[in-house]
Amino acid sequence: MSSEAIAERSRASEFWDGVRLSTPVVVASAPFAMLFGALAVDNGFSVVEATLMSATVYGGASQMVGIELFGQHVAPWLIVLSIFAVNFRHVLYSAGIGRRITHWPIVQQVLGYFILTDPQYAISERRAENGQTVSFIWYLGLGLPVYVFWVVETALGAYFGKLISNTGSLGIDFLLPIYFFGLVMGFRKRPLWLPVVAVSAVASIIAYKTVGSPWHVSIGAVAGVLLAVILPPHHSGVGARPGTEAEEQL
């Protein structure tokens, strides 16, 4: 067997390694892809628009936020800004995974960042920590099935979502708050989680009653973030390095 054939075979096995790891992610994200499709149509998107959003934004939580605000007739710039805000955590993934994939050709890196989702980051980072190389072909094996299923299931959800007439008894109008609540709970291990959630909740409710929707989203979010910025950094579990505290007090 030539060395090229051996290399070819090992590339193939790396790809399927990635595909195997993608299976739980594909299964877990399926209901959300369908739900997004159905809710997007419910909020005034066409089937094509819902599918386009899944194919280009490719970030579940931010897409849910986007269609929710769209349904509330929020100004377009605020919808885009909110999606940007929800996706902002990717900046940290990007900084983290960047160290692992600098050896890829630039075109592969450009594509790699496009499919950098929460599980994609977590699984890749774990592979790197185990001392294994994060190769492009493995990364693609992990990410491609998740992407393809996400887009196809969005289209299916959008198409069949149009057929559901009595959305009230199925609880579709309140599924998103439950989903977002789950995401909020998912961050509960973070420092300052409870104070941030409490301040954002109170501020958003007050803003909702006074200024009105959609401004309650920005006002509530800014209030929570400001709390984290204003409190001394050691409350936030960051900047614990010696000397930082002293600099702060100067």
Partner: protein, 98 residues
């Protein structure tokens, strides 16, 4: 092209910037200011809470029951199990309370 189309494209570009931006920008700095880092850490919980709180306030017993069950499940299970539990309670409760 419709406004919706342009919202989607702008959102896609903004999202891609977050995915490539950390590598391009943040990794060039020696360190991020602790207060900026603390603020960034608070962003997801702060944004998502504003999408839940007003809805909870204007909801009824069926929705509250769903959230309580979902919250309890989320302490142990993952996002999917908590979501399915909450949805199941919501659908059941609405049959009886509506």
């Amino acid at each position: 092209m419709s406004t919706t189309f342009w919202i989607i494209i702008a959102a896609a570009i903004a999202t891609y910037l977050t995915r490539v931006g950390g590598h391009l920008v943040i990794s060039r700095f020696e360190r991020v200011h602790p207060r900026v880092e603390a603020g960034l850490n608070a962003v997801p919980a702060a944004v998502l809470t504003t999408l839940v709180a007003p809805a909870v306030l204007s909801a009824g017993p069926a929705e509250w029951a769903a959230l309580i069950v979902a919250g309890a499940v989320s302490l142990r299970g993952g996002l999917l199990s908590m979501f399915l539990a909450g949805a199941a309670v919501l659908i059941l409760a609405r049959q009886f309370m509506a």
